[in-house]
């Protein structure tokens, strides 16, 4: 608060002082005081008033600066009223009480909704685990009674399983840091497992996948990495063109990075849409033509990659190809 705004706050008091001084000056003059003496009194009074005003202002100013500093240091700003020292002046005390009540109500509200959110997430996770039992049951049943019908059922089950998995990972997105285990992961094994999990789905879609040149290993979390690869490969199948789908998975060490690239010969992405594919809920023109796109898959990939320290990049030419590149840092520190 600047001094001028402080003074303008005290306008009424100053005005009363000024009017009172005028009135008393007039009175003293009537009693026969000299103009010079009255002038002297004025100077004294002005000094006194100004001194008081300035002293008060400095006090206020110091107090405010202190409170601001406390606020700046706070991580959770809504705890301000609990942290800062209690005021001495009565007016400030009342303000303080009001603020405290307001913030208390707010924190209650926030923790209430946090609790609901957590409960909801726990319920979803629980539900997913329950879902896995019948899915596993169906898969085993189909595997034990192989026919063209059960193959189709398996394909559908794989799709259910993918969707369920996606919900689980979405629910866990907020707590990736609590749930990962960095190990040396062989890219070949990782990709192979993803392909094996979606075997029926991929075979039914007549996909041909080349993984022969994959050889590098990276340091990452196997489970999350598989999830990311899964999304990428499913996208390739979803957005295939009329040509037979061929996916090339290769890896290459480049300086401080190992790059895994997944290239398909599908629909590709328009240049104008390339920058937005990682946005939540973004469905490009390919997705709008009835492919039940949700705009969530690549968003999840991007978020996960950020948390795992992988940088993800997409290159594409519409109608020709799409390449998703994952760059894994190859730090010397990671070598055990």
């Amino acid at each position: 608060m600047s001094f001028s705004s402080y003074v303008s706050d005290k306008k009424a008091v100053l005005l009363v002082c000024f009017a009172g001084s005028l009135f008393f000056s007039a009175l003293l003059w009537l009693f026969g005081l000299e103009i010079g003496e009255i002038f002297l009194l004025w100077i004294c009074f002005i000094f006194m008033a100004a001194g008081l005003l300035l002293w008060n202002y400095l006090n206020y100013h110091r107090r405010l600066q202190h409170l601001r500093a406390v606020m700046d240091d706070l991580d959770q700003k809504y705890l301000f009223a609990e942290i800062t020292d209690t005021p001495t002046s009565e007016l400030e005390k009342s303000y303080f009480e009001l603020m405290k009540t307001a913030l208390k109500a707010m924190t209650d509200e926030v923790s209430q909704s946090n609790r609901l959110n957590r409960e909801y997430r726990e319920f979803i996770e629980q539900w997913i685990h329950e879902m896995k039992v019948p899915i596993t049951g169906i898969q085993l049943l189909c595997e034990n009674n192989k026919s063209s019908v059960t193959r189709k059922i398996l394909t559908q089950t794989e799709m259910i399983s993918q969707s369920v998995e996606r919900v689980l990972f979405y629910a866990r997105l907020g707590s990736v840091e609590k749930d990962y285990l960095i190990t040396e992961v062989s890219l070949k094994a990782c990709v192979s497992e993803v392909l094996a999990r979606n075997k029926q789905f991929l075979i039914q879609n007549n996909v041909c996948i080349h993984t022969e040149t994959l050889s590098d290993t990276v340091y990452s979390d196997q489970k999350w990495l598989q999830f990311i690869l899964n999304q990428i490969i499913i996208n390739s199948v979803k957005y295939q063109s009329a040509r037979p789908l061929v996916i090339d998975v290769t890896s290459q060490g480049q300086g401080d990075y190992v790059t895994l690239s997944v290239t398909d010969n599908g629909l590709g992405i328009k240049e104008s849409e390339l920058g937005r594919v990682f946005d939540k809920g973004f469905v490009g023109s390919n997705g709008r033509t009835g492919k039940n796109s949700t705009g969530i898959g690549l968003y999840l990939c991007d978020q996960l990659c950020a948390k795992l320290g992988i940088s993800i990049e997409i290159k594409s030419t519409a109608g020709e190809y799409t390449t998703v590149l994952l760059h894994f840092p190859k730090s010397e520190f990671l070598k055990v």
Binding site: N144, L181, L195
Partner: protein, 221 residues
């Protein structure tokens, strides 16, 4: 023959796992009375235990720790839980591997085999013979009448699958699936191309008609 014990309380999954593993050539037993799991394990002495984590009464973790007190039998956890903590806990308590539901069947079988093979020599037949042909899966060659042809990895796997089912029709889809299980990810058309190439190579042996096409069904030797 390896003996596998299934500790799983979900009835349907237990039964289907039993069928699956019996078909894969294992002797399978299931725990039915979860009060006395340990006694049963001691009595049966299986070669491998498939252990679920959510069990009535005692959970899989503590069961695993108890088994480790008297046996080093390989334990493969199969479970619906899949967080890193679960995995870590399973492995630190003495589990040998961890696979989460819903699991892919070839992966499950591969892991079971991997655990059983530890210390044992892998048993892949050195040669497969049929009707005067000798397939050498290690060298990747096919020989007949003293002449030999070299096969690529894909061609070799196709021939291996056909040689394992002599006289039977192998449906195309089965072949593709077999290849996928062996990490060769090709589609139907590429399979046809590969069969064509094999036939060409066979023709150089003078045996172009080894592989017969059964239209709409598959291939047969």
């Amino acid at each position: 023959m390896n003996k596998i014990l299934i500790v799983e309380d979900e009835k349907l999954i237990q039964e289907e796992l039993e069928t699956l593993l019996s078909n894969a050539g294992f002797t399978v037993m299931c725990v039915t009375d979860f009060e006395n799991t340990l006694t049963q394990i001691k009595a049966e002495m299986p070669d491998l235990i498939l252990l679920d984590i959510n069990l009535p009464g005692q959970n899989g973790y503590s069961l695993c720790a108890l088994i480790r007190q008297f046996s080093d039998v390989p334990i493969l956890f199969i479970t619906g839980r899949s967080t890193t903590m679960d995995e870590l806990q399973a492995l630190t308590l003495g589990g040998d591997d961890f696979i989460s539901k819903p699991y892919n069947i070839p992966i499950l079988l591969a892991r079971i085999n991997a655990l059983l093979k530890r210390g044992q020599v892998a048993r892949q037949p050195a040669y497969l013979e049929y009707n005067g042909f000798t397939l050498n899966p290690i060298a990747g060659t096919l020989a007949a009448d003293g002449k030999e042809i070299e096969l690529t990895k894909t061609e070799l796997k196709i021939m291996y699958c056909l040689f394992e089912h002599p006289g039977e029709i192998v449906p195309r889809l089965d072949l593709v699936e077999y290849l996928w299980d062996n990490e060769i990810h090709i589609d139907d058309n590429t399979l046809s191309v590969n069969i064509m190439r094999i036939r060409e190579k066979l023709r150089s042996l003078g045996k172009g008609d080894l592989i017969q096409t059964k239209r709409g069904m598959g291939y047969k030797i």
